[in-house]
């Protein structure tokens, strides 16, 4: 839009409260910056612990986002479009990880998929495969806490979608799956991408479910948030360095994606 803009004066009350609100997010970053050992930073962030944790965090969070996409979009579609008994219960259970303390989620995962879990035990007996304390466990813990964000976002988009375009596609001879693939998905594309970014961001910051279900083994299950927690006890400077890495990675991705992927208006 290139229309003429008329600037209206913002009410000072909103400006003051908004500024305080922003300070909540800015102040911790300043705190982090003041404690950063800038001279040793290069050496700290290239240490084995940090490099291992960064690699693991990126791999597991991206995998979790991908799995959330592949499973979460169909789940959102079913919740939005298929009228089945108990749908609201299923929806509540799917969104539960958004409010549940992640530690509780991790414990629940352990009871289900652990060595003695209802699914984990027969799986282990049959294949010798064990999820807890493996990179697979980290991914599952991440999916558990991250996928609800994608499901909620995509389901809302599907509910708001004007179904007449899909009906039009059907009259042109398109099967239900073709309609979904060629019409529905592109139309809710912005919401799918937003949900994906949210899910990835949540997976990257995941701590409680991961540490409970997958443990804290450097190089195998110790992601960046876990590494920060451990370092805070032993080596403050490393903790600060890892935190900065997390901030930098997250901020970079959010800024990069914001324009192209998940801004809905003409924002910059």
């Amino acid at each position: 839009m290139t229309s003429r803009r008329i600037r209206q004066r913002a009410p000072w009350q909103l400006l003051v409260l908004g500024a305080i609100g922003a300070a909540v997010f800015v102040l911790p970053l300043i705190g982090l910056a003041t404690r950063t050992p800038w001279s040793r930073l290069g050496e700290l962030v290239t240490s084995d612990v940090v490099v291992d944790a960064l690699r693991l965090s990126l791999i597991t969070s991206l995998l979790a986002a991908a799995i959330s996409l592949v499973l979460g979009v169909p789940l959102a579609w079913v919740l939005a479009r298929v009228d089945f008994p108990g749908r609201s219960v299923v929806r509540a259970i799917v969104t539960l990880p958004m409010v549940l303390p992640p530690v509780v989620g991790g414990a629940a995962l352990l009871f289900a998929l652990g060595r003695r879990g209802v699914v984990g035990e027969p799986l282990n007996d049959a294949t010798g495969f064990l999820l807890p304390f493996s990179i697979g466990g980290v991914v599952i813990a991440n999916v558990f806490v991250a996928m609800p964000f994608l499901v909620v976002t995509v389901e809302a988009a599907l509910r708001n979608l004007d179904g007449r375009h899909e009906a039009a596609a059907a009259t042109l001879g398109a099967s239900r799956l073709t309609v979904f693939r060629r019409i529905t998905l592109p139309m809710i594309g912005p919401s799918v991408r937003a949900g994906l970014v949210l899910a990835w961001a949540r997976a990257l910051g995941e701590f409680g479910a991961t540490v409970t279900f997958a443990g804290n083994l450097q190089g195998r299950t110790q992601t960046l948030p876990l590494a920060v927690f451990v370092a805070l006890e032993q080596d403050r400077d490393t903790a600060v360095a890892i935190s900065l890495v997390l901030v930098a990675v997250s901020l970079a991705v959010l800024l990069l994606l914001r324009d192209r992927w998940w801004s809905t208006g003409g924002d910059t």
């Binding site: 009906a167 009259t171 042109l172």
Partner: protein
């Protein structure tokens, strides 16, 4: 049979019931004409297979599409009905060419063939230059042609146009109506035009089916409908004055009106609908000679220029619409509140039995 044979009975959750029956032969254009809320959208949804009928049947080209009695329901993707939707519903993420190719590709045609067919259609509709554009970059008229091309690309057994001109502004409507008439003639199957605009129906259709409040109220050629409107709605559409009254040997008593009229038609007795064409009424400054029964004094309620005619509406005793030339309006110095004499020849007053059509309550009069 190769045409459409439909009896649509749909009960909507809000209590509205649609119950209409009509047939369309191949090569025939039928307009389903009715006011907003008459059930036209429900009819479109039932025909396209977006909803099912509760009773009745839909048969197209000898193929049963929906028949509750034999438990047949063909889903939309297998109906072979090409629909041009009200606001076109073009797929905005696809180019014009991909929009038109969508149907053939979905039906399993190879991409190269589908593309060739789509391009041929775009050329026929003279929009080949738009092939690479996205729908948001199209004007209303261009979008309409793309929607028509998209519907035709599947080689449907029925072409269904749902308010195809409603989204256009008045200036482009006239042109596009002619374009549409031309392309409709190219399509050999049955053609159904859903519209609330009498001009579309009168100019494009071979036959008009009127629905009001979910019920069929009149079926006929545009000329039939214009000459003998069966309900006030139809009369208003055709610009004709419609009054309710009774006929006793040519002497008409009007409902709720003191003034009577005389008609030359004595074949229809009893409760009747009376139609008077707006051009059949003459206005005078002085009392004219002639049958005093069809001459009365009144005042001008409104004066409205309509291009090469002027529409005058008369106040009591009989509110009527009168079309006269702007010259006559000036010569008579007609303006709001002018006292005038109105006269109609008895041969210009047509009567039809009020029982025609399912409407049970004889309507009150309607000005044109």
């Amino acid at each position: 049979m190769t045409g459409l044979d439909a009896h649509l009975v749909v009960q909507r959750p809000d209590g509205f019931v649609l119950d209409v029956e009509f047939a369309i032969a191949s090569g025939e254009t039928v307009a389903l004409l009715g006011p907003n809320g008459a059930g036209k959208s429900t009819a479109v949804e039932a025909l396209a297979g977006i909803t099912s009928v509760d009773r009745g049947r839909i048969t197209l080209g000898g193929r049963q599409l929906d028949s509750p009695s034999t438990n047949v329901f063909v889903p939309p993707e297998q109906r072979r009905i090409g629909v041009v939707f009200q606001d076109y519903l073009l797929f905005e993420h696809l180019s014009v060419l991909d929009n038109v190719m969508f149907g053939p590709v979905s039906l399993g045609q190879r991409r190269a063939e589908a593309q060739a067919r789509a391009q041929a259609l775009l050329e026929r509709l003279e929009i080949q230059d738009l092939a690479d554009r996205k729908p948001p970059q199209l004007s209303g008229g261009q979008a309409q042609r793309v929607a028509l091309a998209r519907a035709l690309a599947t080689e449907p057994d029925l072409l269904l146009l749902d308010e195809a001109l409603a989204a256009l502004d008045v200036a482009t409507r006239g042109t596009l109506r002619r374009v549409l008439a031309h392309h409709l003639a190219d399509f050999g199957g049955p053609r159904l035009l859903i519209t609330h605009d009498p001009t579309d129906a009168f100019l494009l259709a071979d036959r008009i089916v009127i629905i009001e409040n979910g019920q069929l109220t009149q079926v006929g050629s545009p000329e039939d409908i214009r000459r003998r409107p069966a309900t006030p709605y139809v009369a208003a559409l055709a610009g004709t004055n419609l009054l309710a009254g009774t006929n006793h040997g040519g002497l008409l008593t009007l409902q709720h009106r003191a003034q009577g009229l005389q008609t030359a038609d004595t074949t229809v007795e009893g409760s009747v609908l009376i139609t008077i064409h707006p051009t059949a009424i003459a206005l005078h400054r002085e009392q004219p000679s002639g049958s005093p029964r069809n001459t009365w004094q009144t005042t001008v309620a409104t004066v409205e220029p309509l291009g090469d005619t002027t529409r005058i509406t008369l106040a009591d005793p009989i509110p009527l619409g009168v079309d006269i030339t702007p010259g006559a309006t000036a010569a008579l110095d007609l303006r709001q509140g002018s006292a005038v004499w109105a006269s109609v020849k008895a041969t210009e007053i047509a009567v039809t039995p009020a029982a025609l059509g399912p409407r049970t309550n004889p309507p009150d009069e309607v000005g044109g």
